[in-house]
């Protein structure tokens, strides 16, 4: 695999995974995996089913603790931290199967995702009582703005459980954006979504990338991966197989072998 000088990332990685392993009762889901993600671009993570992609994402987001290895985000070690502290540093993960907060409205789903505001802790009642209404109003404005970008503003006050499958996918993305992240991990953001909605989701991702948000996404749709990602990492049997620009990956014999069951 060739790395032309222009494609050599100059910036320091936003995410670095070092020799991470995660075992589930004898199954090596992730097995000494190392990879890096550089800021400001859309990086794709592909690999056959069972390659350990989703597990790796969960480890990065802190939902699972790795058995061994380290995860660095923005130069700081984050493995072992509880998920809510990782989110506060600016790393957000969306769920593969949308997990909307069912009995809350679309707007509330977004408001919850906002970075910490006055009034979320009871001590704020003493320390920052006057800030609470303003903070709340600001969050509503921001949530509506995100809904407008995503195109869900019309469903603002609908219960999340009443959305369609595709709309839930959008909501999942909207929630991730609402958290004002530096890096978003998207686990199959367009799986099972109709083509129109897919274009919309991808458009939103690209718009945000242009505003400086980094994306790292798992996807099985090769067309989308090849067209939209600027860098692709291939995982196989719990480890990184190869990485490179889409054109190299497409023709790499090892990648083709891994998908054909090699």
């Amino acid at each position: 695999m060739s790395l032309a000088p222009s494609e050599t990332p100059a910036a320091r990685p936003i995410l670095a995974v070092r020799e991470v392993s995660k075992t589930f009762g004898g199954v090596h889901a992730v097995d000494g995996c190392s990879l890096t993600v550089f800021p400001g671009r859309i990086t794709g993570l592909i690999g056959p089913n069972g390659a350990g992609k989703s597990t790796l994402f969960s480890v990065i987001a802190g939902l699972y603790a790795p058995d061994s290895g380290q995860v660095y985000f923005d130069g700081q070690r984050i493995d072992g931290l509880p998920p809510h502290l990782i989110v506060r540093r600016g790393l957000v993960k969306s769920f593969q199967i949308p997990r909307e907060l069912r009995n809350m409205t679309v707007l509330e789903n977004l408001m919850v995702a906002s970075p910490r505001i006055a009034g979320e802790h009871l001590r704020d009642l003493i320390l920052r009582l006057r800030d609470i209404p303003t903070a709340e109003a600001e969050v509503i404005v921001r949530a509506e703005e995100v809904l407008r970008i995503i195109g869900l503003l019309g469903l603002r006050d609908e219960y999340a459980k009443n959305l369609s499958g595709g709309q839930k996918k959008l909501l999942e993305l909207a929630r991730a954006i609402m958290a004002q992240p530096k890096l978003v991990l998207l686990d199959e953001p367009i799986a099972g979504v109709n083509p129109t909605m897919t274009q919309k989701i991808l458009q939103v991702v690209e718009d945000l990338r242009n505003r400086g948000v980094t994306f790292f996404l798992i996807e099985h749709d090769m067309d989308v991966i090849m067209k939209r990602c600027e860098w692709i990492i291939v995982m196989h049997q719990g480890r990184r197989l190869v990485e490179g620009v889409p054109d190299d990956i497409r023709t790499n014999p090892r990648v083709i072998d891994s998908y054909l069951g090699g």
Binding site: P82, R99, L101, T105, R116, A118, G119, E120
Partner: protein, 301 residues
């Protein structure tokens, strides 16, 4: 009804299953009883309980009851809230029995099964006993319930309340969105238990005599009936549920004189059966309760 408000915070808003409601009410009641009556000893009949040398002011005693019940709640919650949801239920269920048995057996401390008597009522010095006293007490109780309602409504509308809802709906998602689910559950549980302690103080003052078996698991069950009947997540529903529940209990007592004599004793069981049936009907046909949780719809800014 105040109990139900506390339970609603835990169960309705946060999804925590507290199976030991009676324990927290009981702890509140006994703390209040002991502090407000002061040391009591009658060596002749071996009948006494611990207390301060001078009886406490009722408001101070009620506040301490809340603190003790809340503290107990936090204490039991710290180890169990980290585990799966079921374990909180198991632990609180056990706690309920432990508390009742401790109260019953520590006779030198709580009066045990000899009851704790002569608990004062608010304004007791000015109001003679009897129906008039009940009326004054009702005013105090309604005032307290309204106060608790206003405070809890306010809390539930804070961003804090929204985070509790998120934990209830999906704890993992809440954590993935940067919420400290453990602290949220802990604070909700602690406040809920403190409210139950307050309810205990009120009931102690109302009955003026309390006995350990008042705080048996059936009291927990009654609180859940009120919450589920009224509508979990809706405090106004709690008030409605509370009235319906007590209206029904009161009605069964009233018709006692009009049923055949061999049925008078059975009435209390019929009451429980009908309530159980009602609960099943509500859960099957209207799981959100009579007054469901209100949708949060803020105006566009």
């Amino acid at each position: 009804m105040v109990v139900a408000l506390g339970l609603n915070l835990q169960w309705g808003h946060t999804g925590l299953f507290n199976a030991g409601v009676a324990a927290f009410v009981g702890v509140g009641a006994y703390t209040f009883g002991m502090l407000s009556t002061g040391k009591f000893a009658d060596p002749g009949v071996n009948w006494y309980h611990w207390g301060p040398d001078q009886p406490w002011d009722l408001i101070a005693a009620a506040l301490v009851s809340m603190a003790v019940a809340g503290f107990l709640g936090v204490l039991i919650a710290i180890p169990t809230l980290r585990l799966r949801a079921d374990y909180l239920a198991i632990a609180t269920l056990a706690l309920g029995e432990i508390v009742r048995l401790i109260i019953k057996n520590e006779r030198h401390f709580t009066g045990g099964d000899l009851d704790l008597q002569f608990i004062p009522r608010p304004f007791g010095a000015f109001v003679p006993e009897g129906a008039y006293s009940n009326g004054v007490f009702a005013l105090v109780a309604i005032g307290t319930a309204l106060g608790a309602l206003v405070i809890l409504e306010f809390l539930a509308r804070l961003p804090w309340g929204r985070d509790l809802h998120a934990v209830r709906e999906d704890e993992e998602v809440a954590m993935a969105l940067g919420k400290d689910a453990f602290m949220l559950k802990l604070s909700s549980f602690g406040i809920g238990c403190a409210i139950m302690g307050l309810a205990g103080a009120l009931s102690a003052s109302y009955y003026t005599t309390i006995t350990p078996d008042q705080f048996a698991p059936a009291a927990t069950f009654a609180a859940y009936v009120v919450v589920i009947l009224g509508g979990s997540g809706n405090n106004r529903g709690m008030i409605l549920g509370g009235y319906l529940f007590f209206l029904f209990t009161w009605a069964t007592q009233q018709i006692q004189g009009y049923v055949p004599s061999d049925w008078t004793l059975r009435l209390v069981y019929v009451n429980q059966m009908v309530i159980g049936l009602l609960l099943i009907v509500i859960i099957v046909f209207r799981p959100e309760g009579i007054l469901p949780e209100k949708k949060y719809v803020p105006r566009t800014q």
